[in-house]
Structure formats: structure tokens, C-alpha cells
Symmetry: D2
Subunit: 337 residues, 4 copies
């Protein structure tokens, strides 16, 4: 492959540049930013990159096959569409877009041009998350009953998006990765503090035809940082603690067995609590896995794990959450073909 | 005071018997249960008690001034009303009732007969909770922004009430104790697993006129036990971890300061993260404090902390949550005089 | 069996009384203490017991087969010897004695009279400790390389014994239970604070013919409580944290493999760090297991796990530690037949 | 200042290079290594540096004022002496040397030539350690009673030094920083696994004229990583946990008060356990503080915190520990002028 351009060199761009340099398949890694100070920094931090000050130059350069967008959310749709139309493969930082129709348009453009469209849902490439999905797919957990995620900290406030688009987007993509099912009922409640248009605390619930119940608690105004997810199956349950460096994933041999007691005509329960097992998780960087998957998708024509459709599904759910939040928490119903 | 009867000797009754024996103000502590095996057990575990097999005998006994009910929730209203009408002071295990009108009727009966009516919201008497309320009242935390509580474990399923009445009732009473404000909007979502009429996972949100946002997450089907509450003020924040024996209460010198940046016409934030302070909490048993408050209320005619009105407020909120849950999560509006 | 007398009703006696009542094999459980207040308390706390004020009466009572001593350490030898000579089976709170010759005399007396002599090394009956010994015996850990125990807290100072006899005695008995090997070199260092004859901080090292290295750190003057033991084998390692209610025992698939690199003539190492497994430990009370073992030993004539010899071995090691400590940490050599 | 040469570009050299570049006082930062691949790496990782392949060239270069040695321990004395004699200021990675006479010779050479000699005991510049020293110096802790450090992990084995020179050196320098007192009695015990000449587990005790008792437990063969230090004063105590990112330093209002009970002629104790306070520690990198101190020492002629004498004191203690270890744990007495 000839070259990839990293567009936007703020917080995320440097990480992309470093990982595509290390991945090594692209002959050139170009950093594009309108701010010349940032280009200087890019050159200093990643001496192997080339720099360019204009997105138009990137589009016009035939030696650039692919574009990775690390620009503000509001620009994703316009820039990605232009890049696809210019014949580039495109990787877009999450979220893919903020409107479903925009996401769909990108998917169509990629399909028409036979280009790869990928969303940077990094967690999908996280070794711990991939291990949990394997456990779910193997049937070890049994049927999924609930997923309960807490993602809170004293955070960097975003000026363009609220806490759902900033934090809950991770949980939504993780849940979409754990199951092929999609929610039919979405509700979101929140609190804007400091007062303003953007929620800094968000509570999101997703309900599924199978009965799966998902609850996501995210906040920028917690004095302590918590990254804690429970995945409850009717056979086993998992606790994923992203901040526990030694045992991020624990599998519990505890479940709830239900049986009918005819005489009393009511449910009786047994409680099981058994062994705990914490598999070793390989310490591979998620973004390195993502870079490899993007390269493989371009080379082999195979859809990446977090392709355009995967990204669009997250947009659809977050868009519904947004509307629920704006309405004060009313339920939004979704249909999926 | 002549005597107190503990009615119902199952899980909670023995604790009440032991604490009223230790408190020492009542000349007699009588255990009342229709099950003679339980009465034998009561005699064995608390040799100082007397026993009686009929509630009617308790009501008729002029040497019994007070009744403490530790019977199934469904019986609270009927038994408490009978006891008040028989001229007894009454302590009722939480919740006071399951319908607002029932709670109001008990309050009226107590008022008419000049009797003490108290609800056993034990957490209100917990030294850590009382310490946190002092910190809130002193103004140290500033204005309350949010309270976020997680109360989950692999639990004992109740057959008569769902997880909201069983677990969220604690958080509702704690929040009602922390602030005199009452919520005007209530929403609840949940999941019944194993399938049945009663939710085993419940998500409750309360919104207040001042902007305070309360979120409660309770579950009987978590593989790990968590008792974790965040109380966020605009000056300081508190983390209360009921399972941390050494430092249950931590006060964070971190808050969020907002100011308007006129030039950019958008909110700008500063982040503060400072010292952490964990006050020593006296290891006094909450139920001992509660027993003392009941005795003092009878003796001095002063309302106890968790009086009938306090109990009725919790019933009103949980009743609204119940209706929201039944409707699939729609918002219930409450008005308070 | 006719009866057992619990001698001494201070801190440990009540626990023994309760457990022998629950065990149920003895027709009578008698509490013996010279302090009549304590006897009253015994009657109140364990209504099923009988009481007696004199040890001589216990010895003379033909309806008492067995005696459990929970008296000050200095009295163990005299009382146990008298009881054995009176034909009683004897259980002695740890340590069995403070001098090796005293311990040996008790063993001889028990042997001559065909009586059971047992030391109350409770940890040997702890389900977690028994599980760890099974893992060691199965060969899963490989050869034992080291055991490292930390047992510190802000403690109750003893007036008659130092921190080694009070705390390290537990670790010594646990190590003696994990391996049949006995140490041939003992060293102890310590610190007496507040100033006085008794050490409140003690460091104990034990070295074994096989190369096993044991390090015990115990203290009464730590602001935090730690109960942490590492057991390192050349195949697997175990962390035992007595204060972790959920996962007290963790087994690590990490070991150190050594091989010789001939070319460089120096050791080369591979590092393995693998899965972690935490078996469910049954929550059975250790003292209940101990009571059962005492009864079984009397009934079946089989030596209990912590018999007189087991108790004497601990005395021999602690006596050596004491002498090392008194000499400022010099090495004491021990020989074992 | 004209220039500094970083000699040795393995594990530690890159960190020194980065920090002296950032510090900015030296006009040139030169990396010196005989391995040309390492020089290329130095250029790539820190584009601002110059490179040179020979230590002789460094010594001969009049534009280089200072030398920072990050070479194997065995070379420290020879290289540092040559650099001092060539008129350079010298910073030496810990330990300064492995023999007391070597350390003294370096101090003398620095004194004669009026050059700065500094040892890179990085922890002395760690914000948490500096905060703890302030607390000790202020008298808040009262008199120091004990320091107890655990520094264990599944470690990188060193081929030239044992675990005491590799890990305990940190604790020795920290203790020397906390108090101006120096130990008069040193003992060390250990275990070499895999079998060989170098201990991989080391237990070190230091005793001081004032009664201060220091215990250091270090290991390369623990399945879990622990960095835990207790500092016990007779008024307050501190727990320093280097792996706790949120609350590395906790101050306990718990101490032990002793008083004499004349009647009983034995010590009586009161136990206090009070509040816990965790000060915010500024997240400044220790090595940046160290670089500033080295520059300030050159500029102002003031001794740095970890000057040659400070480094030599650590060598003297570790050398004694080494001799104790080799003799099987016998006590080594030290005298300090």
C-alpha cells in the first residue's frame, strides 16, 4: 500500500500515526493538519511521518490510498464522504456520524466505490473485550440476561458533544460487539452540570427482543474513576474491570437457577456461587490490532470488525438516546431490518 | 416504660429483640409469633424475653406500651393500625406500607391517638450516613448536584416484593435524609429474571426542582456485591463504600467550577482534584441508635428521625417507581405540599 | 461421650463452648472459671452449658471425659498435665507450652495414659488453609521455594507473651502443616515499642534442608491490618489473603523456569505469567472442624491433625526464635529426629 | 552550561536524555555508547541529541561540562573517577559504587576538583517521598519507631547484582532520606532461586541508636507486585503505596500511647485509631526534579539532595548487608563519624 494520511493531529491523531508507522504496511504515513504548530509536533514525535497542511492536497495525492480521520465529530460526515468520493479507504474516529442518514450515506458511498469504510471503535480490538466475546460465543455464559456498565470519572468536558456521545459510545459499541441482537427500546436520562445544553451525567437503558437488559451509567463529574462492566448470563457471569491491571476479566461460576415449585405456585430459587477464574489477557495494544484489521480489509477485501454498518448501528442507538434525553427520558422504539 | 412487643421473629425480629433488651428502658421485652418453634428460638437466643403466641394478646395487654412490627410487608398497614388504635406506640419495619393512602391513614391514627409512629429505616441511624448528612448540612459540599448509588449482589429473592421495595428503599430513605427536598419526577426501569412478575434488577431516577439528579442501580443477580454511593456537590464530593471497613466515607476536595468565557461564548471548565479525607466513623450499631430514638420519642414526645411522615415519603416515591416500572419506564410526576 | 469442661471463659473460651455445644457429641458442656461473673456470662451466652467454679472439681468429676484449656499461656503445662493425669483427654489453646521440655512431658503423659492430647492451632482447620495444603500435596505447585507471611495490625498487646508467641505462632503452625519438613536454622529480630521486655514487631526467618526459605513479618503496631501469605513453588504460586472475603486464595500460573546457557556461562531465565484461579472456599468455621476432629480422635483413637507432637514442633521453633531474638538476631540451629 | 553527555543508552539512559533535553539548561545533550545501533535509537527517540561512540571523546571534549553515567554497576567507579579527573561534573546511576573505598575515592576526587558528584537515587526526588519527609521533619509523626517496606514482584533478574543491590537500594536511600540517623547494626538473610550465587529474595533489617527498627522485604519471585511502605511514628503513621494511583500516601491518626501503671508494675496501653488523610501529590516526574537539582548544584555550588556522601552511605549499608547475607545472616556493626 502506498500511503495513509492521518487527518487531525490533536489527541487521537498522534496515536494513529504511531500505530500505522509501527504496522508498517503503508509506504508513507502523512500527517495532515491546518495548524503548522501541530505539524511540527507531529514531525518531532513521530520522525518517520511526512506532513501536509491541506485536506484538499491529501485528496488530490494519488500516492495516498487511505485516510484516517481524527477530526471533530461534526466534520466526520463531510470529510469522510469527500475522501470516499476521491477513492480513498476511510477510517473514521468514533462516532462515525451523528445522524443515521449521514452514516447510511457513507456506507452507500463506500459500497459504490468499493472502498473500505471503518469506524474506530477501539474497544472492539481490545484483547480483554475480544476474550469476553469469545466466552459469550462459546456458550459458556449461557443466555445473556443483562449487561451493566459504569464509566465515570472527573472528566475532560467536550464542547461539541455530550457525555453519551463521548463515553456511552464505548459501551454501546462493546454491547453491539457482544451480541448480534439490536435494541428495540431505548431510554436516556441525564443531568447537565454545569448548567448548559450538554449532559455531563447520562443513564442509558437498552431493551432487546430476547429480554436482554442493558444499563449504562456514564459521567464526567465523579470524583473517582470507575470502568466496571458486569455481563450476566444464566450460566456464568463476568466482571470486566478495565482499571485492574492484574485481573481485568473475572469469570464467576455463579448463576441463578429458576425452577417452578408447583405446590406453592411461585418461583423458587437456588443460589450458586462457585470458583472464580481470571484468564491471562495478552497486553497487545488495541489500536495496533485495529490498524492491522484496517490493512487486512484493504488488502483482502474482507469487512473489518467495526465496519461502516457496525459504526452506523452505534449512531442509530446514540441518536435514539439523544432524542430520549431531550424529551426527558421517554422511550424511543427502534426497528432493525 | 412498661413493655414492648416484637411482632414476628424471622430475620429482623431477633435483631430488634436484642437491641431493645440492650437499650434497657422497657421493663419487659415480649416476642410475639404464631409459630411456637420461633418462640422457642427467641427464648434461646435472647433468654431475657417473654413470649406470646397471639397478636390479639399483645393488643389486649395493658403492660405493653409499644409494638415493633417485623412481619411481611403486606401486613404492615393492618397490624400497625390495630396497634395504634389499641393505644400502642408503633415501630414498623421498612417500608411503612405499600400504598400512600395506607401510610397516610397510619399517620392520622397516630396523630389522633397521640402515639409515636416510626418507620425502621435503619440506614438513617447508621453513623456513616449521619456523618455524611452533617457534612451536607454544614455546607461543606456546596449545592447537591447528583447522588449515584449502586446496591447490587447475588441476593436472596423476595417472594412478595421486587428489588425496588427490597433494596432501593434504602437509597430512597438515605436520599430523603440527606435533603429535605422531594423529587417531582420519577422513572424506573427493570428486568425480571428469572421470568416472573417481580423485577430483580431495577434502575431508578429521581429529579428534583433544584436540579438534583438521583440515580439508583439495584440488583439481586450480580456476581459481586457492591454498596457504593457518590454524593456530588459543587464544592466537594463524597464516596460512601459500605463494604470498606477501614474507610467507608471519603471526602474529595474535587469539584467542578464553571465560568462563562464571553469571547468564545461557551462554557469553560476548570478541574480541581485535591486532598482526600476519611473521617473516623464510630462503630456504633445503627439499630441501637434507632432503639434509643424510639424510646426518646415516646418519653419526650419529640418526633423521631424516621417518623411516620418520613416513612410515608419513601412509600410515595417507591409507589411512583412501581407505576413507572409497570408502564415500561414512563415518567411519573409527583407533587408535594 | 459424657462431658467436656471448657476451662477459662475469657476471649477464647466462649467460642469453644459454642462449638462443642453445636458439635453435640458431648452429653454435657461445662464451663469452668474461678470468676463467678464470667460463669454468669457463660450461662447467659450459651444457655445450654453447666458451670463450675473450681478446676479441682473438674478433675474429680467422673462424668467429664475431656478438658479444653483456654487459660493464660503460663498455666498450660501445669493444668494440662493435671488433667491428663486425672485421665482426661486434653485440648490446649495454642501454644501448647512455652518450653520444649514441658511440651514433651505432656506428650509422654498422654501416651502413657492413652489419652488424646491436641493443640488448638485453629488455622490448621481453616478451609482455605486445608485447600492450600491439598494443592501443595497434589504437586501442583512443584517444589516449595519460599513462604512469605505478613500478619500485622494495630493490635491488642499481650502482657504475658510477645508478638511472636501471639501472632507468628499462627504462621509457624501453618507452615508446619504445609510441609513435613522442619527448619534447621532459625533467626528472629524485633522491636519492643513501647519500650519494655516484649517485642511488638517481630521478623522471623526459617531455613530448611531442602532450601525452603520462610519469612514471617508480624506486628502489633501497624496502622493497617494485613493478613497476606505468599507460597512460592517452582511450578505455581499461591497468594492467600485472609481479609479478602471473596477470593481468599488465588493460584497463579506463574513460576520461574531456570536453565543453563552454556555459551554465556550464566543463568538465563524465562518469565511466565498466566491465568489466575480462585477456588471457592466453603465457609465452614475452623473451630467447628477442630471440635469434630477432637471428638473423632477420642472416639476412634486416631491422632488429630494438630496433635501433641504438632503442637510441640511449634513450641520448639518459637522457643528458638525467642532465643535468637534475645541474642539480637543470631542464628539458632535445630535438629529433628 | 555547555553540554552534558549521557553515557550508556540501555534502559535508564533514554530517560536521562529525555529529561535533560526537557530541562533545557545544557546547550548540548550528547549520547555516548559504543554500540552504534543504540546511538541510532537515541537519535530516533530523542531527535535533539548528538551522538558519540567513545567515552574518551567525551572526556576530551571541552564543550561537555557534565557526565551522567547509566552503565553497568561494575563500571561506575572507573568511569566516574575518569570523568571527575577530566574536570566533569558527574551524575552516577545508583549505586554509586559497590565498595565503600571506591565511593570515598570518588567523593575525594570531586572535592579536590570542585566538581559536583551526585548519585541518581531517583526516589529521593519523588513527590510522594518528598511529601513524607516534610511530614516527618515537621514533627507530625512524632519520633520514628519503625519503617517496614515490601518491594516484591516477578522481576527481571539481574546478572551482575543481587536483589538487595537491585531493589533494596531504593528503600535504603529512602530511609536515609527520611532520617539523618544511620544504622549501627545490619543483618540480611536471603534465598537464591534459581540456585546460583545471587539472592532473588532478600530480607534486610537495620537497627539504629535511637531504637528505630527498619525491615525491608524484597523479591524477584513474587507472583504479585507490591510496593508498600509503613512509616510508624509515636504520634502518627503513614502508609505509602506506590501502586495506588489515587491515594499513594495515607496519614493515620493512630498511634500507640504508653504509660506506666505503677500498681501493676507493667505497661498499659491505649489504642487510638482516628481519621485518615490522603494529601494530593503533584504528578511531577521524579527524574525531572533530579535533573533540576543537578543543574542547580552545578550553577550554585550547592550540594544536591543525593550527593556523593548520600550515595556512599547507601553503599556502606548495602555492602554490610552483602557481607551479612554471605555469612548466613550474622550481624554487621557499623560506625559512622
Amino acid at each position: 500500500m502506498k500511503g495513509i494520511a492521518i487527518v487531525g493531529y490533536g489527541y487521537w491523531g498522534p496515536k494513529l500515526a504511531r500505530n500505522f508507522l509501527q504496522e508498517g504496511s503503508f509506504g508513507r504515513v502523512v500527517v495532515c493538519d491546518e495548524d503548522s504548530e501541530r505539524l511540527k509536533r507531529g514531525k518531532r514525535e513521530n520522525p518517520g511521518v511526512q506532513t501536509v497542511g491541506s485536506f484538499a492536497a491529501v485528496l488530490a495525492d494519488p500516492e495516498i490510498d487511505a485516510v484516517a480521520l481524527a477530526t471533530p465529530v461534526a466534520t466526520h460526515h463531510t470529510l469522510a464522504l469527500a475522501a470516499l468520493k476521491a477513492g480513498k479507504h476511510v477510517l473514521v474516529e468514533k462516532p462515525l456520524a451523528t445522524r443515521c442518514s449521514d452514516a447510511d450515506e457513507l456506507i452507500a458511498a463506500a459500497s459504490t466505490g468499493h472502498r473500505v469504510l471503518m469506524t474506530d471503535h477501539t474497544f472492539v480490538y481490545h484483547p480483554a473485550i475480544q476474550r469476553i466475546r469469545s466466552l459469550i460465543e462459546s456458550g459458556d455464559l449461557g443466555r445473556l440476561i443483562y449487561i451493566d456498565s459504569t464509566r465515570i470519572n472527573l472528566g475532560l468536558f467536550q464542547h461539541d458533544v455530550d457525555v453519551l456521545w463521548d463515553l456511552a459510545v464505548h459501551d454501546v459499541s462493546i454491547v453491539n460487539f457482544f451480541t448480534t441482537e439490536r435494541p428495540h427500546r431505548v431510554q436516556a436520562m441525564g443531568c447537565a452540570y454545569p448548567p448548559g445544553p450538554l449532559a455531563s451525567i447520562g443513564i442509558l437503558t437498552l431493551r432487546y427482543p430476547s429480554g436482554l437488559f442493558v444499563h449504562i451509567n456514564c459521567s464526567w463529574v465523579s470524583p473517582v474513576k470507575i470502568r466496571h462492566m458486569l455481563i450476566g448470563g444464566d450460566k456464568k457471569m463476568i466482571v470486566y474491570d478495565d482499571l485492574n491491571p492484574n485481573e481485568p476479566v473475572k469469570i464467576y461460576d455463579s448463576g441463578v437457577l429458576a425452577r417452578t415449585d408447583d405446590e406453592r405456585n411461585r418461583l423458587m430459587f437456588e443460589y450458586r456461587a462457585g470458583d472464580v477464574y481470571s484468564p491471562k489477557i495478552e497486553p497487545k495494544e488495541a489500536l495496533a490490532n485495529l490498524a492491522s484489521d484496517f490493512v487486512a480489509a484493504i488488502r483482502d477485501g474482507k469487512a473489518p470488525l467495526s465496519d461502516g454498518r457496525f459504526g452506523a448501528d452505534a449512531v442509530k442507538i446514540l441518536d435514539a438516546a439523544q432524542r430520549s434525553l431531550a424529551s426527558g427520558g421517554s422511550e424511543i422504539r427502534l426497528s432493525w431490518k
